[in-house]
């Protein structure tokens, strides 16, 4: 097998689409894992002082977890669209594969960074509710503001994938 043949096997249209699905799962997943653990570490400090705050702390901790889910959804949609799980998988050309890869990029990148940034706001929100437990709404809202951009990214990713015509 020549090198060119190898390349043409590796870079098939289907594989590009799967690369997109993989990136959409990997990057936001990493970001969310990092984010949720970051808030979890901050909330453990609060819980040693006041275990009754667990519910509120958990709410804040769950917030940066959504990016991972957005990535997962995008990946699933790509897999559905290519019919990879069905009896008759599609054969995509390079252009189609590249389209689906590009569709995955918004949530892949924005999801990764916004999860971590959102987690930092949520972690400082833990400090806020440690002193003022009644202000949990504000802590959640300011953390949710960061998520807006992940939502916009997943919106574009989903639209691109849904409008994919084989």
């Amino acid at each position: 097998m020549t090198f060119v043949e190898l390349l043409s096997h590796v870079f098939s249209g289907n594989n590009l689409a799967f690369l997109g699905a993989a990136l959409a799962t990997i990057l936001p997943g990493l970001g969310s894992a990092k984010g949720v653990s970051l808030v979890g570490e901050a909330s453990s400090g609060l819980l040693t002082e006041n275990p009754s705050m667990f519910g509120k702390a958990l709410l804040l901790q769950a917030l940066p977890g959504t990016q991972g889910i957005y990535g997962l959804i995008t990946a699933f949609l790509i897999i559905f669209k290519t019919g990879a799980l069905s009896a008759a998988p599609m054969h995509l050309d390079l252009g189609q594969g590249g389209y689906l890869l590009a569709a995955a990029l918004p949530i892949a990148f924005v999801g990764y960074f916004s999860a971590i940034r959102q987690a930092r706001v949520a972690a400082s929100g833990i400090n806020l509710i440690a002193k003022r437990p009644d202000q949990v709404g504000k802590a959640i809202t300011s953390s949710a503001l960061v998520e807006t951009y992940a939502i916009f990214a997943v919106l574009i990713s989903l639209l691109l994938v849904l409008f994919f015509k084989a």
Binding site: A62, I69, I73, F76, L85, A144, L155
Partner: protein, 651 residues
């Protein structure tokens, strides 16, 4: 849907009556008192009330009762479940009838038992240590008090497990000392060493070089076997005493309801003292200064008259910041807490609970559109509200989600989502029926995402316009009708123009031009210079970008809606993967329950957070004046017992 009108209350009462008056007002639950530092009473020649010497005693009473309740609760047979109704008790009657004194006796007895139990615990730990020591030394048949004869000395102690005793014996024999192994366990070897007194320095040096630890027998004197028996007997008698004490606790716990009422009574008294402690007054009187909602003024006046107070009720002045009490129909009051998480509106501004409530339900339903999830959500929440005797706050919290669940059901039917696409997958993969393409009555979000996006933005546009309408309403109510027409009317004209133009209506262009002209001509009207008027007017067109970005923010409705739909679809595909077999159906039920519960939980959080955000930022941003202080009237403590309603009002 309004903010209650408040009256400022100023009343002088005799200091000897203050405590009773405050307790009376507490039962009305409609008067809030300011602390004297807040209303600058000192500048008006009044002095702060002297600190009450009863406070310290009362505080320790409250602490004792709380401790007693903590101790008694595990023994109480009347197990508090979520379903048990709260105790009803009239605190005044409780005190007069002598039940309070009996409950105090219970608290005192519980306190003594608690102290004795702590002593028993400490002694048991010590005795158990002794017993373990005696067991290790049980082969030693000398009295433990024996340490030396006239010429010889005995060392008793231990080496770490694994020490080579023959080696040490060898070293010791040079000094004519004798080592005897008494016993061994997993951590240590117990030994007794006998030596001549002259050699004791040398022997002790050798022993410590090998890690010898002297045994601590404390005041034990007899042989280990005897001492062990004694310790065992002591432990038995301690256990016996503990059992008796716990039986007594169980007996005391039968009256736990009275102890709980006592706790409320004492906390009420403490709160009354604290309220009185914040007052200022003259030599013989106290000035009660605070707020009463106008609708409750008569009830408060009746009490003040009863105590012969000199009082006046006045309207708030410009400088005052009256506390905010919201008044909503019970349906809309369920949404007050959502607003409360953001902030209360300023007194004299607008309470948006009702308008917000309508949009909250609408947007929540669209964002989480699924008939199945909505059904589960509203069933759980509304049943909980109906069946469980929950606190008022919790009830409103659940009721709100219950109504939102109904909205999810309606939108779910319109958009054809029943636990994701479960009916379709069930038909195709498990029942072998060809399913229709979609169950949607209106549009299917996955097949027509653009339609769903437009629907989301459309709801957003209505929401934003409603926010501007509220602002216009506030302006008109304050007498700025022209401002309302200019500031709200001109953008609306412009929006209408954009809409008509985009829809291709022929005169749309002219409406659009009229809108732009209205913006440019009116938005600079507060500037003096004509040129500045124009510049400001043109600048206002740039402000339209804010409206555009607000509107785009509503695309999250679609994104979150798709997210729950797609995850639901994935769950359904995994659930029906087994195909139509017995095993397949079992797998289906398990995966269905687990997967959809997970999806419900995750999306509930997301939907709640982002629906709230659309209210706080996009909607409230149009009109909300935040920073109101919630009205918190004096009130009796009702942690355990509620006053019966008929006496709460008129006593």
């Amino acid at each position: 849907m309004a903010i209650s009108k408040m009256k400022r209350l100023s009343a002088f009462c005799l200091r000897e009556d203050t405590d009773r008056l405050i307790k009376k007002l507490m039962r009305l639950r409609c008067v809030s008192l300011e602390r004297a530092e807040e209303n600058r009473a000192e500048e008006r020649g009044l002095t702060l009330s002297p600190p009450d010497e009863r406070r310290a005693a009362l505080e320790s009473d409250v602490a004792a009762t709380t401790q007693a309740l903590e101790l008694l609760h595990p023994y109480s047979k009347a197990k508090k479940s979520l379903f048990s109704p709260p105790i009803r008790a009239d605190l005044g009657e409780f005190e007069r009838s002598g039940r309070a004194d009996k409950a105090k006796e219970t608290v005192r007895a519980a306190g003594e038992i608690r102290r004795r139990l702590a002593e028993i615990g400490a002694e048991r730990a010590r005795t158990e240590g002794d017993l373990a020591l005696c067991r290790a030394w049980k082969a030693y048949d000398m009295p433990l008090s024996f340490t030396a004869t006239r010429l010889a000395e005995v060392f008793t102690g231990s080496f770490p497990a694994g020490t080579q005793l023959p080696l040490i014996s060898g070293e010791l024999s040079a000094h004519s000392a004798m080592l005897e192994e008494i016993g061994a366990d997993s951590t240590a070897l117990y030994v007794a060493v006998l030596c001549h007194q002259d050699a004791d320095d040398e022997v002790s040096r050798i022993l410590s070089a090998h890690g010898f630890l002297r045994a601590a027998f404390r005041e034990m004197k007899d042989t280990p076997a005897e001492e062990g028996e004694r310790a065992q007997r002591r432990l038995d008698s301690l256990a016996e005493e503990e059992r008796t004490l716990k039986d007594r606790l169980a007996l005391l716990a039968e009256d736990i309801a009275d102890t709980e009422i006592l706790s409320d009574l004492q906390k009420t008294s403490l709160a009354a003292l604290d309220a009185a402690g914040g007052l200022a007054g003259t030599e013989r009187t106290d000035l009660l200064s605070g707020w009463v909602p106008e609708k409750n003024a008569e009830r408060a006046e009746a009490v003040l008259k009863l105590y012969g107070c000199a009082y006046e009720l006045t309207d708030p002045t410009e400088e005052d910041e009256p506390p905010v009490l919201l008044e909503n129909k019970s349906f809309f009051s369920n949404f007050e807490w959502v607003m409360g998480m953001y902030s209360y509106p300023l007194y004299g501004s607008y309470d948006p609970s009702a308008v917000m409530g309508i949009f909250y339900i609408l947007i929540f339903g669209l964002m989480f559109a699924d008939a199945g999830y909505g059904f589960v959500l509203s069933l759980v929440c509304l049943l909980a509200v109906k069946l469980l005797p929950l606190g008022e706050t919790m009830k409103r919290f659940l009721a709100m989600f219950g109504w939102c669940g109904l909205s999810c059901m309606v939108w779910g039917v319109l958009l054809g989502s029943y636990f994701g696409d479960f009916p379709l997958q069930l038909m195709n993969n498990m029942l072998g029926i060809r399913a229709p393409e979609s169950l949607a009555l209106m549009l299917d979000p996955l097949q027509n995402p653009m339609g769903f996006l437009l629907l989301s933005l459309g709801v957003g546009a209505v929401h934003l316009i409603a926010g501007m309408a509220v602002r216009g309403y506030m302006m008109i109510r304050r007498g700025h009708t022209l401002d309302a027409i200019f500031d709200i009317g001109s953008p609306w004209l412009l929006f209408a123009g954009i809409g008509l133009f985009a829809a291709g209506v022929s005169f749309g262009k002219w409406v659009l031009i009229a809108g732009v002209a209205a913006m440019v001509l009116t938005q600079g009207r507060n500037e003096k210079n004509v040129l500045m008027k124009l510049v400001k007017g043109l600048g206002s067109l740039y402000g339209l970008i804010n409206y555009a970005s607000d509107l785009l923010s509503y695309s999250r409705i679609m994104a979150l809606g798709l997210a729950s739909a797609v995850v639901g679809q994935v769950v359904n595909i995994l659930a029906t993967i087994g195909g139509p077999s017995v095993m397949g159906f079992i797998v289906m039920i398990l995966v269905f329950l687990f997967g959809h519960l997970l999806n419900l939980a995750i999306n509930l959080l997301g939907t709640f957070v982002h629906t709230s955000r659309l209210q706080y930022i996009e909607f409230f941003g149009k009109f909300f004046e935040d920073g109101g202080e919630p009205f918190s009237p004096l009130t009796v403590s009702s942690e355990y017992a509620e006053e019966p309603p008929e006496t709460a009002a008129d006593r």
